[in-house]
Structure formats: C-alpha cells, structure tokens
Symmetry: D2
Subunit: 344 residues, 4 copies
C-alpha cells in the first residue's frame, strides 16, 4: 500500500509503497483509511520530541504517523464479532487489552498494555492501518470519515474533560474555555449540547472568538492582559466555577487560576507549561486541579452520537495524503484553518 | 387586603377583605403577590382531600390556597439580609428552618419543621402572603411574576426529577417523558437545555405531542395501546435508559415500566396509581424506581437561571384574582391551556 | 472427567464420566474445580423452574449445575494473557464479550452476549469447567477455593448492592439488613468493613441474630411482628436511611418499606414477592427502590481483597462432590449451616 | 469573665477580666467554654502572620484566640430552637448565614458572610464565647468537651478531606497518609472506620509511625529519602490511588506526587509549600490535585457520630487556661504530645 513515511526527523515525509498490514491475532482489525487527522502532536513527532519514547517502545524509523483515523473495515481476525468487512468506522486511538482493571472499569485509556498506533506503532498516514476489535466504532450512515476523523483524539480529549466537568456546571454556573482552537471549538459545542452553564470563551485571536459565538459561547473575552478583570466583572466579582484550559502554556496556566471562585475546578487539557500554586492558596479557597487524558471508547461512542445528531460539527481542511508535507507546513505556519485531514 | 377564601369544600371561593399578614419573627418576609399559579392540587384541596391533614396541622377554614407565588417584597423581619422591600421575587413553596440536617444538606424540602403556605398556612390567592427569608429568590430583571409563578412548584418538581436523572442521560441514551402537560412541558425544556439525550415524549393527546416537538422532543409517540411497541422500535428493541412518568396513574405506571431497558430507571413524579413490580423482575433486569418530591431552594435558583436565559418558557393563561372560580372551572373542564395564573 | 449430572428434574443427580471440556476459542479457559458452591438457585433448577429458559438458550439435560466456582487453571486459549496453567482462581459467574457498551462500562453482568455456566451452560458440579479469560481472578496465596467459592455469586450479589448503597451511609446513618443468611452474613461483614453506618439486622431466627453480632451488627431485632416499631424506637421515630432486603418475599418487601425514613432507599436483593407501593407515597416521602443483580468482575476483585484481608469470612459446610444429593437434601431440610460447598 | 488575651504579637497572652459576651441578635448563642483546642494556627496568629487579614476584618488587639471549642450553652437569642441553655455542645468553627447558596448546599465553610471566632472575632481562650445557632452541635452523653474540642477544626479538616476521597478508595486500593500528627491521627482513624482501603502511613518520626499502627495503618514507612521507592514496592510498582498530604511543605508536596499511580488523586491538606507540576505530566498520567478546607457543619455531626461510637479517639494533653503560655511554649518546642487543650 501507499504510506507517508517518516524517515528522518525534521525532513519531509515520503510517500512510498510498504507492505499491507496483516491480521495476526484473533482480535485484529485492518481498516482502509478514509481520513486521518493531522495533529500538533504529529509536529512534535516530526521534530523528534518522542524519539526516546519511541525507541523505548521498540518503534524504529521509518514509520507512518497518524492517530486520528476513520475508514472502512478491510479484514478481521477470527474472534471479531462487533464489526464486519465493509463497515464504516472511527478508531479509538488506543488498542486495549480488555482484561486489566482499567479496561473493565470504562477507563481503557489507562489500559496496562495499551498500544498507540501513530505514535508507538504504524499510524493512519497510509492506505491501511491495523487496530483491534475493541477500538472500532461503527459510524452512523449520515457521517463520513472526513467528517469525524479528528474527533478520534482531539475531539475526544475535549469531550472527556467536559464530561468530567458536567456535574459542576449547573444552570447559573459559569464555565471558562481558554482557547477556541482545534480542541476548544469541539469543547464549546459539547458544553452547549450537554449543559446550560454560562460559557465564556477566552482567546488571543479575535477571529476565533467570533466563531466561538456561533458554537454556543455566551460571552467572549479577548486575552489582552485584562481578561481576568473582565471575567470578574462578568461574574459579579466571584470568579467562575470551572476553567477548561485547552492551552496549558504561555501563562494561561497562571492567570487562568485567577479566574476561579472559591471551590472552583481547573481542568488541565492543553500542556507545555508548569502549574505552580501555593498549597496555602489551594486550602483557603479549596480549589482543585484536574488532569485530563484522551477519552475512553464509550466517550467516543457518545461523541459520535453528538456528531450524528448534528450537535457537534468539525471545522476542518482536507488534503490528499500525497500533500502531507504541505499540510504540515500549513499547520506550522498557522495557515491551516480548523483541523487538517489527510485523505489517502 | 383582598383574598380569595375557601369557606367550604366544593363551594366557590369568596373574594373578601382579610387582615394583612404581619411580620412577627426575625426571618419573616411579607410579599405582595404578583402572580399565583393554579395547580391541580388546589382542586384536591377544594374537594376536601386534604381536610384531615389540614386539621391535623392546625389550619381551619376559611383560608386562601395558592402555593405557586411570585411578587414583590412588602416587609421584612429584623434579621433578613438577603432581600429588601421592593425586590421582585419568586417564593420557594416551603418555609424552612435552616437548622436541621436536611436544610443544611441542600434538601430543604425534607426540613423537619417545614411550613407549606397554600396548603397548611395562608397561601397566595390574596394580595399578600407571609413567607420566610429562606424562601425568597430575587428575579432577574427580564422576568415578571406572571412569567414564572407556576415554576415555583410544578416547574420545580419537573426540574428536580430531571436533575436527579441527568447522570444517566449521556449522549446516545434515550429518555421517555410520559405526559406533555403542566409539568411535562417544563421537563422537556429542562431536558433539552441540560442534556443531549434522545427525548421521546408520550401522551394521549396529539395536540400536546405537536407542542412537545417545539419544546425539544426528538420523537413523539401517541399513547394508543401500541406505545410500548413503538418505543421498542425506536430503541432497536432495547428499551430506554430513563422513564420520567409525569402521570403516575391510569396505567402509565404499569406499561411505563415495560419501556425500560436493563439497568433502566423509572422516575415517579405524577401520582395516583399503585406501582406493583415482582421483585424477581427488579433483580433480573436490575431496574430501579425513584420517588420525587418538589425541588430545593437551590434547584429553584437554577430553574430561574434557565428562565432568565430563555431556555425554559412557561405556557400559561392569566386570570384576575376575582375570577378564581372561573379559572378553577376551566381547569376542571379541561378548557385551561397551559398553567393557570391568578393576578391580584 | 467425573461430573454430577442432572438427568431429570426432581430426581437425584448422577455422578458419571463425561468428556473433558476443551479449549475451542482464543479466550477460553478450562478450570479444574476446587470448590463449587451450592445455591438455592440450584434447587430451583432441580425443580425445573428454569426448564423453559434453559430450553430457549439451547441447553438440554443432562448437564451439571454449579455457578459458584473456584479452582486451578488447567488450560488456556491462544489469546489468554492474564492467567497461566496452574493459577489458583475464582470464577466470575458470567462469561462476557468485552466488546459491548456494558462490558466497557464496568457492568459486565449486563453484557449483551453473556453466557452463564451452571444455568445455561455446563457448570461446576464436575471436575472441570469451561469459562473465559474475562471471568477468572487470581486468588491471593492465603485463600483456597473452599474459602471463597460461594463468594462468586451469593457473596458478590451482597457486595454489589452494598457498594451501590455506600454513598448513602454516612456516619450517623442507619442501615437495616433484612435476613442474616447466606447473602446477609456476607453483606453485614462488607458493611462493617466499608462504612461506619449503624447496622441493624432483622431476622426471624434468633440464632442467626446472635451470629450477626459477631459479623458487625450494632443492633439485632427479631422479626416477630413488632420489628417495625422496634426499628422506629432505635431511630428516634425517624426510620432508616437504607434497607437492604435479602429476603424479598413473605412480606419482608411490605413491612420493610415501613422502616424507611424520608428520602430512604430500599434495595431489593432477595426475590419472590411483589413490591407494591402507592405512587403518592413514593412522592410524599421521596423514597426509592433499587433493583440489584450480581456484581461485576471488578466487584469480585474487590470482594477478594476483603477476603484476603480477613475482613470477610465465609460461613460454610463442605461435602465431597459425590455427596451432592445429600448436600441438596440438607439444604432443602434446613440442616445446612452456612453455604454448602462441593469439592470434586 | 476571665480570658487569655493577646495584646501584642510575640508576647505572652494575659489572663484578665473582660466583659461577658452578650446575645445581640436572634440567632446568637453564648457558650461557656469547657475545652479549647490549641492549634498551630494559634502560633501563626501569635507571630502576627494574620495581622493584615485581622485588621482588614476589623479585629483589633487585644483579643482572645481559640477556634476549636466545646462547652455548655449559656444563653440563646430569641429565634434559637435547636439548643437550650445547659446543652453540652461542640462548635463548628464558623458562624454562617444560612441564606447564601453555599450554606444551602451543605458547604457552610464557603458562606459568603462567614465569621470566624478565634481568628477574626473573639475566640475560645476564655470562659465564654459567642457563636450562632447554626454552629452548635449537641454532644452525645458519652462525650465531654475535653474529649472532642480539637475535632472542631483539626479533626474536621481531616474528616472532610477523607470524605471527599472515599469514592476513590475501593477494597484493593491503596491510600497514603503523609504525616501522623494532629490531623493525621484523626484521618487514619476515619479512613479505617469508613473504608477497607490499604492504609500506608508516612512520617519522619518513628514514634508516630508506631502509634499509627494502633490507629489502623496497614503499613508504615519512615520518611528517610527512600520512602517513594518503598511505597512503589508495596504497590507492585504501580503507585497509590490517593495521597492525603497532611504536611504540605518541606518537600512532601514534591515527593508525595511521585507516589501516585495513573489517575491518582493528591489531596492538599497541610500547607506551606508550593505545588509545582508540569501540565504535561498531569495529562499523561491524568493525575489531579484537590484543595481542602475545614469541613461543613454536617461533616462535624458525622465526626461526632464516629467519636460517640468510639471509632475516633483523640490523643491530647490538657492545660488549665491560665497555663496557655506554657502550652504554647510546649507546642513550639515539640514537647506537646497529641493536641493541646485549654480548660478555663
């Protein structure tokens, strides 16, 4: 099959012929890729930030990145009963064991033996990808792979954090979203669909804020140095119940904390910076900080229900797989609007 | 002041002059009534169904019913700090003590010493009513007493049940609402505002079903004897995650149970019939039955936030207080569209 | 292998040679039975109460009952990674798929494709039994199959109900246990280990009540017609927060409801009778009724942790497998103290 | 009355005559102090660390510290119905309004208008103290003020954190307690009474660890630089589900984080240091940090139920009020074993 292979860090990927993936275990599923999302993590891979971790996991270059995949089932192992050849599916980013406590508790992402195609195994920047029966979700007839692929990881991360925050978001509460980009724009739509909280979106880009209103924001605030003050005014001086920080660096994880009211919760979703808070402050105000990884398989099933109902719509730009390097250049240069999607 | 007084069961109420209520304790609040909802419970009172309970509580005829009230603060006791004379307020239906475990746990409705004006103390079918500081909620500028009075009890009951059900209603789940009447129409709007569940509304009245679609129903099913079968078809034979039964009599509490899937929850909100289920069935399918009373003070605060945001809109008909008997006749005869509201 | 086979309802089981079970699918696990609990359900099977259900599921006589099993792994399918030949294990009563939403949510007992050995497939009244990788839990070194086999179903049912009840059982609350028998005696120990609630045990057998105090009961009350009054006295007239009904028939499901305080929860665990409650009562007191099935795989892992720590100890009597009919006679005649265990 | 007054920071308190507190509002309660706990916060007050905050709140020296109080009701305001003169009571540390959302949600500690006697109003190092009806809890006959006073704040803080952690502490889980001192020794007993988690206690003092075993610890680990490694060994390399950090300074808030397993929760209870965690780490391991303030009134009711049942026993040393400066010297010098209690 054709695949976009990374041979060397910081160098263009090469489109070349590689062997088709094969069914070798009872629960294996081979999927013909219909769409593969391009994620900022793919840039970090390309820069070699995951070199050590990849070597440790046994992955050697060249290989194909791509961890946000959707397509059609091409072949299945003998024990697979939940999908058939030809089924249209989205792929949960992890292959999981189904036997450990985490898998049996709805927390597949903490599976003791998880495999992460695209990062530590061959990914979806190719015509086919190998995954497992526990990772495929049939798509509603109304959805195509290009409609949903980036929901497999970026969208799923946003959904997961919001689902954890929902019990805190009663009508009359206020929820700040920091960052109206790739994850944030899905997050805002999920919040609107599942709660009546007052949504306040903060971003340093005025265009993103304008879009945010269409996605369901009640208020938008430009990050210009006065954003903390403005949120205080919006909340009568009290601060907000929940901050969803989709940025996690560049200071957001500092001034973001100042937005909280007493007993507020700060959800760390974006990353890069260091969270530093005096324990005295955590105690006097009883604030908490919640880490968030990507969501579970069932979370992705639920996000697909939102997508099928038209309650979550992805903002994206499509490229042929052969243009993968163009797509990456556009992402680096900030020219890529919405999430980038590669189509083999 | 003028008041509509019940002198004798089954006889018209009389509009007459009675002494104004007076502040006699530190937390007393006197409210000038702007709107008083007319509830089916008022008919039951008028029929004498609460005669024994009222006598036991020390209430003697004549008195004014009316337990869904909103208006303006007229006078306050010395210890009242949360409202001032002139404030526009809605009244939680109960006066509560603030000292018992229930009050201190957010469950004021189970207050050990609660007083229920309109049922066991003078109510809101009058120009003024006496309540307590713990029962008044300031209204948003955009809302008037006639917009919200019936939300104080009927709406609050619906809201409370739905809030309890929310953790069960993930995207992809199905929730049946039985009864699209006074409580149901608020319930459907609350469900839509706070969840992305698939809402299926069942009613024996086709007109009510047509309205339900405007309130947010995804599907409507006429109760004609085939309703169980139709819901099974809508859910791929599985049944639904939650049934909210706003009827509770006339068989709904029987066939309603047949709508549940394994691990389903049945919320009893309407009343009148007997729930009868073999324990064997409860075990094999692990289904549960949840009783529901009116909501707490904080629940009403949250419902007012939904109303202020325009997410819950009341369907009502207004009468002058002097026409209270006409309003009751209309309610009995089924001529009253939406909730009836009396305006002194 | 030797097996105790049921050839005809109401007739003694026969010990005879049958073919050994074989690994035929990737996740199959064959276990050499070390102990098989004898349950009242086995009597119901023997009486033919499950005849129709068994025929429907494709099971034909003769076959071996036995759904509470522990022993040593004898053989495993190619995909099994969580146990090895020789491992000492207890068996969750169901074989589950690992692919459906329930399995992925920690609710394996509601698996869409579950198989129930002992009821709808060959069970553990035999030298070997076939189960699946998702059903075996390694035992702590300190525990032997005869220490724990009945915890696989009877104990697990009690544990599951109590785990659901725990959030209601704060210090200062009161929890009634109706029935201090096979399930109840495990339930009382689980309650004591996991909560500081005041435990009140009700039984019609004074000997059982005496034992209950050793298991952790704070109070015991003889079921003699005055039990409701006595519980009211113990709770200052308020009633209790939770009733765990391990009987579910003979009136317990009627007078048991009278024990509840406002907002109380009644857990249906035993079965046989009909639960009948006016919806008016459910609303005025806001009481709820919770159905309970056997627990999940993770629940059984947790119960084994309690057993390994000595916090839950089984009260049992052991018989050689060849004496299965004696054991059943003893169970019928009420001569069997604690749970009966068959040892092949 | 006699009172120990702080006239100047860093100088001995003076025992002198001051006017008795008087009932001046409907819900006021005057309590004759039977026991007042001495807390490390009292040292911080004495050092002037709260000088600015006290001035801001309107408190001027001289005044009496003391925020862990128990005694007998001496006088009550006109609206007080929950206690009578002569009742034996413990005092929740805050006086709360009963009207704000927090008060009505079971979170009195976040009351918008709370008053904190001992810190921002006259405290319990005196013969009498003024509090409110919403702050007094009747003691069980079996308990005396000197048995419980320090539970009013130190114990209540420990209880509150543990109650929040309980849903994470299933049988088979592991919970680390850092610090077996004033708060920790109550925390360990609460954990043991309310859960079957494996309790691992870490302290730098071997004597404290020996005591911890008597309070319910399953394992103890000396903080000697190898503690992280030892906990890893105890948990099979996985780390623990919950860390309760009663120290919060001196590095505990750094190495304590290394004890967590994936999805672990770190409860910040002690304070002084800065919590600093890379957001990348919070995401990859999905760990969370939970701030904790003192518990609610209902929490204190529950803790008193544990004390009355003998499940929580305080380790303390008693001094006459006149020896307050000796007690403070002993606390500073580390000579005070258990919590110090002043008896007027």
């Amino acid at each position: 099959m054709k695949a976009a292979q990374l041979h060397e860090f910081h160098r263009p990927l090469q489109i070349e012929d590689v062997p088709d993936p094969q069914v070798s275990a009872p629960f294996d599923v081979i999927v013909r890729v219909g769409a593969a999302g391009l994620c900022r993590t793919d840039l970090h891979i390309w820069e070699g930030q995951f070199d050590d971790a990849q070597k440790e996991s046994g992955l050697a270059l060249p290989y194909s990145p791509g961890h946000e995949n959707a397509g059609w089932v091409e072949a299945v192992g003998e024990a697979v009963t939940n999908v058939r050849v030809g089924d249209k599916v989205i792929l949960h980013p992890l292959i999981t064991c189904g036997l450990c406590r985490a898998c049996r508790d709805g927390d597949d992402v903490h599976c003791d033996k998880n495999v992460f195609p695209g990062l530590f195994a061959p990914g979806g920047f190719a015509e086919m990808i190998k995954t497992g029966a526990r990772s495929v979700i049939k798509l509603d007839d109304s959805l195509e792979p290009t409609d949903v692929a980036p929901l497999a990881d970026a969208g799923l991360t946003a959904y997961h954090a919001i689902k954890k925050a929902l019990p805190l978001l009663h009508p009359g509460s206020t929820c700040v979203v920091i960052g109206a980009g790739g994850l944030g724009h899905i997050g805002i739509q999920c919040l609107r669909a599942m709660s009546a909280t007052t949504i306040v979106v903060l971003d340093s880009n005025a265009d993103a804020l304008a879009l945010a209103q269409g996605w369901g924001a009640d208020h938008t605030v430009l990050v210009d140095g006065n954003q903390v003050e403005q949120v205080k005014v919006l909340t009568g001086g009290q601060g907000v119940h929940v901050v969803l920080d989709f940025v996690g660096e560049g200071g957001a994880q500092e001034w973001g904390v100042d937005l909280l009211r007493n007993k507020g919760f700060f959800f760390v979703i974006g990353y890069g910076g260091v969270l530093a808070v005096p324990t005295m402050r955590m105690i006097l105000t009883e604030i908490s900080f919640i880490g968030n990884l990507v969501g579970s398989y069932n979370d992705l099933v639920e996000l697909m229900a939102l997508a099928a109902a038209g309650r979550v719509v992805l903002h994206s730009t499509t490229y042929p797989l052969a243009d993968v390097n163009t797509a990456m250049d556009d992402l680096i240069a900030g020219r890529l609007h919405g999430r980038g999607i590669l189509v083999p």
